[in-house]
């Protein structure tokens, strides 16, 4: 069984990872995929200078996320005896996690509940809600 875990760099993501570990420990041959999505919209507005530097910034963002969030998580999992690998991508969090899960043939997506509240979230809904609503793969939202 392949489980994709969505990290967010916060405690909620860490709880999702803990839950996925418990599930994986109870299974045979469980594979953990740790994903971090950098929130990005292709419809945002930027200056010409930002555009010119975008490719460079993107590489830096991916490297930073890899180094600070994904790699430590994967290393910790490997140390605990799990089969694990990491992914870092840009995009809409819900869409991208879903796409990564499909592309990598995951059987389950585990995510934390909304990592931050507030007005905008009430209005537009959180990534967790969007993912749970639209995913074609079972989703576990960890409280």
């Amino acid at each position: 069984m392949k489980i994709l875990v969505g990290l967010d760099g916060h405690e909620t993501g860490a709880r999702a990872l803990d839950h996925a570990k418990r599930l994986a420990a109870a299974m045979e041959d469980a594979v953990l995929l740790v994903a971090y999505v950098i929130e990005w919209s292709p419809y945002s507005f930027q200056t010409a200078e930002e555009n010119a530097e975008r490719h460079k910034r993107r590489l830096e963002e991916v490297a930073a996320a890899q180094e600070r969030i994904v790699d430590p998580a994967v290393a910790a999992l490997a140390k605990a005896g799990f089969t694990a690998s990491g992914l870092v991508h840009h995009g809409d969090v819900a869409d991208t996690l879903h796409r990564l899960a499909e592309e990598n043939g995951a059987d389950l997506i585990v995510i934390g509940r909304a990592s931050k509240g507030g007005f905008s979230q009430r209005l537009f809904g959180s990534s967790s809600v969007n993912l749970a609503m639209h995913a074609t793969i079972p989703v576990t939202v960890v409280g």
């Binding site: 507005f45 930027q46 200056t47 555009n51 993107r58 991508h89 995009g91």
Partner: protein
Amino acid sequence: MTRSTFIPALAAATTIPAMSLAQEAATIDARVNEAFATITGPFVALIFAPIPFTGFPWIVLWLVVAASIFTWYFRLIQVRAFFHAIALVRGDYSDPNDAGEVSHFQALATALSGTVGLGNIAGVAVAVGIGGPGATFWMILAGLLGMASKFTECTLAVKYRNEYPDGTVSGGPMYYMKKGFAERGRKGGGILAVLFSVFCILASFGAGNMFQANQAHAQISGLVGDYPGWITGIVFAAIVFAVIVGGIKSIARVTEKVVPFMGLLYVGAALVILAANYDQIGWAFGQIFAGAFTGLGVAGGLVGALIQGFRRAAFSNEAGVGSAAIAHSAVRTKEPTTEGVVSLLEPFVDTVVICTMTALVIIITRQLMIDPDTGRYIVQDGAIQTVGGTSGVTLTSAAFASVFSWFPVVLVLAVVLFAFSTMISWSYYGLKAFTYLFGEGKVQELTFKVIFCIFVVIGASASLGPVIDFSDAAIFSMAVVNIASLYVLMPIVRREVNSYFARLKTGEIRKFSGAPAE
């Protein structure tokens, strides 16, 4: 037709502050202006020289002929590829694995924020005020043709941009001139590139900076009362400095978010006015078509309407100038053609949509006075008489205010924001030209940016007749050099385009899964 009609927006909107300033600092300003005019005069006169016996500026013909040739050469690319352009902007053909890179939408939005501005608000009013409603027809035609020029230059800009090991990119006409000419085995690309860069730097100080600062100040002082221009200049320069030198991205980001909103508000208000007067739209288009071929009594008749329409369109959408090619070159794509296709939406949005809205609102709100006996426009001193004696920005403002009394305040805000975003865009165009000439590096960049900020202050505080004339001439000289190079390089573009559309047809290039089917 005098030269000064090229910048009538300025003439109209700055008359009052310019006069009071002229009184305050008459001696120094006048002397600087005079010296400057003497030095640059011949160059300005050359660029805007009329074709003998016609009064038709050759530079306008140069732009329109080029646009027509590209339209023919690429077999109506603006029609063929129009819906494909929209699909590209929506991201239907974008690889999800490229998320986080510059999208087609972002490159288009950035380029648009550099062109949407005073040309759409003031320039159109000038065209219609002098050339009558018929100018709108020619403006739309020039906009439609200009889409092909924009397509040509932006495809080349992506194809020949420089990609550096650190992941940044530099592109624009100077790069395709140098590399493209070399590839075709032609000489002179290097010289054209240097010429283009010089004109681009001058235009970035002038039309992209001083003109904008000057207009912003004229608008603000028109709203709150007259005050010295250097105050506006210092404030603007400080904000521009914070953005381009200090790297305060948040200011730029706020502007880049507010500018499209202002654009939508502007178009929205125009649409509401048109909807409320829907029974007049037929009549307005009747005026536009009748005026396009008969002139309806405007100064210069048909030719007058045509010149005004073509001029303002060229100035508004900058097709063929090469400026947008710099902005579009940053997009992440393996196919240069895709960005060219996307860029042809730019003159469409700028000229065909926004400029036409402005013109329709002015016509429908009956700002232009018609002689009730003859049905012809009342012309005085070479311009159509307007209800409140307005012209330029104030004509547009009066037209909108006749329906929404609060609109002039919004318009001032819009002009100021458009001016600011145009400055940010042009600071980048100028910078790229500057680093092309003097090499990439922190010192060169800082030097250019500081000079740019100084020109903001000068632009807002001085009366700049000759300087603006010169900067206009510089913008159009960019087009002289750029279009000359496009003629040489257009076979390369055709090869790219044919290959791309062939692969699109066979399905080798297709939409990514998840993209909505058409």
